[in-house]
Symmetry: D2
Subunit: 205 residues, 4 copies
Amino acid sequence: MLTRYFHTFSDSSYSPFPCREGGRGVRFYLEFESRVANISILPKMKKIIIGVMGPGSGATSTDLKNAYKLGQLIAQESWVLLTGGRNMGVMDAASRGAKSVNGLTIGILPGDNLDGMSEAVDIPIVTNMGNSRNNINVLSSDVVIACGMGVGTASEVALAIKNNKRVILLSSNSESQAFFVSLSPETVFVVDSPESAIEVLKNWV
Amino acid sequence: MLTRYFHTFSDSSYSPFPCREGGRGVRFYLEFESRVANISILPKMKKIIIGVMGPGSGATSTDLKNAYKLGQLIAQESWVLLTGGRNMGVMDAASRGAKSVNGLTIGILPGDNLDGMSEAVDIPIVTNMGNSRNNINVLSSDVVIACGMGVGTASEVALAIKNNKRVILLSSNSESQAFFVSLSPETVFVVDSPESAIEVLKNWV
Amino acid sequence: MLTRYFHTFSDSSYSPFPCREGGRGVRFYLEFESRVANISILPKMKKIIIGVMGPGSGATSTDLKNAYKLGQLIAQESWVLLTGGRNMGVMDAASRGAKSVNGLTIGILPGDNLDGMSEAVDIPIVTNMGNSRNNINVLSSDVVIACGMGVGTASEVALAIKNNKRVILLSSNSESQAFFVSLSPETVFVVDSPESAIEVLKNWV
Amino acid sequence: MLTRYFHTFSDSSYSPFPCREGGRGVRFYLEFESRVANISILPKMKKIIIGVMGPGSGATSTDLKNAYKLGQLIAQESWVLLTGGRNMGVMDAASRGAKSVNGLTIGILPGDNLDGMSEAVDIPIVTNMGNSRNNINVLSSDVVIACGMGVGTASEVALAIKNNKRVILLSSNSESQAFFVSLSPETVFVVDSPESAIEVLKNWV
């Protein structure tokens, strides 16, 4: 079933910047283009930011192992890792993976202070917004990877699609794959390993 | 398939205040209890607020008809209707239905002013939070009804479950039913008509 | 000193819709105009909402007395009262005043549930945004009245000015009057009684 | 007049962690202590983040010069700079100053995309919250420096005090100094140069 959703760089019909509803995809593409065009004149400093979302207390051991590996691979590409910042589950494991290879980690925290923050977060953004911060998580990520699935993660995947971000689903169950791919077949991608997620990402960023 | 998910008041195993993860369901129940107990001493003014969520521009004609009817039925119970407040789709139709029988309507707007507000909104709450306002929509509703399905609605259903709110799905497709019921079988209910939604609501509020 | 800031309807230079930075004041005026022009065709339902902001635990007895009276007077004009919704200080006193004459009260709550809500709130909006909800308080109010002064109130007055809302300062000290009037002399008004605040409001809404 | 508010490290009564209302100041101190104590066992990665707030389009040439210098000095201490992220005024100047010496810069953006971002921002946090993001700005900063004054800056200073953050006012006018020092004499500090601001900061972080 995976092959139905898995878009690879060898796919001849692959479009690096799919455009949903005409507008934003095109602008996104132009921004990337102009960044390259202008780079000798005025380099933009913006780093590539990859968001890894996933369950906290409900994460499985597979989710944790995948998240740690994702964090490592993202950092090795010199991308910045963004998570929900808490000291549990996928957020913590991905951040620890990134730090194990000296990556840079951002944590978008739900509370009004640093309580419960993962020790592997370099830059905590303290929102005091609870689950409303989920929208910030996805808006601030160039691409969103959902590692495992839970209700919080489901809200993030839905918000990512709503904001026209591309989403990669890793170790998600069949119900969630069927649901999210039905919502947005062109921007939701299903992969079966952290390495595959990175391969997909490399075509975009 | 609906009967598998449809909990009615005649269901002998029906629990009016299902408790997820022990804590908040119980507290919610106690709050309701104390409200009744204290009513002769110090009446709380809080009105019952029913949130109706659903697609904007992507709403089907069935969604719109159901939303209008839901608005009417909610207002006839003297409950307050809460929507995302915009002048399109399910938000607008539900608000118009409620106003057609002199109900009170709240609209939680995404922008920083009244542009694009449904004319059937009495009380606009201007958030300037875009889709982050979806969390406010569900937190402010005693129960959430999803009328149709789209990406924004999906985020609201997920956030409602996350916040331990009960959710009623109306005219949703099979993928969304399967997904959300798998996420939280005890707090997600599937119905097939506005009238059934009201019957379910009457057991709770 | 008050006469320097106190703009009354008899002031010949008084402009009912002062325009800051060209744009929004004019648009606001046109919206009001078009509402009147269209009223026989399609009445907008939106109610007039007056926000009363002020200290919680730090409120003085004068602040509380003024807030209660403001709530009464606002409700007697059939306007809706909006506050921060908590069961203390100016928020609670204003809401109780409005309910004493059967007004309608909205409370924009900082937490993720109804804990700590004033019993005089009809419609709680549950934001889970802490002090970030202060921006919602002022955006959702047609006019903001600051009754007393504290750090939270100061943030609301500043955000109200930023969002081009008119602000009335009641029982504020000389430092706050001097500061906020210096920030925006054309949209900040100083009054010395709840009755004066209502007189000023009547010229606008 | 400055000497009345200017707390320097040579001030014998100087307390590095002033405690407002008993609770949070003490906890903050203990967190710092425990971080030092634990550093050989499990180093926390969190970087020191200094927020520089100030006017956008209304910034004076003095504000801009001070902001650029602040950015440089902050980066030279290996602290991270946090601003509102836009390509104008104090936000832009401070970010450019930090990048001129290879600092790391965070921008908390008000919109839902990167439009209008300063080119000197490394890590944009995309909030889609408009001025509500001001609360995130101050919550995410270990200390807040206001460089110049405007209505947005005033809201940030008030929110910083509300959240028990220490605030340094630079090149502010006498009305704003008098007002904010009256609100919180123990956590608001007035300085007259970027270098003085850094001297004060060094005693805290």
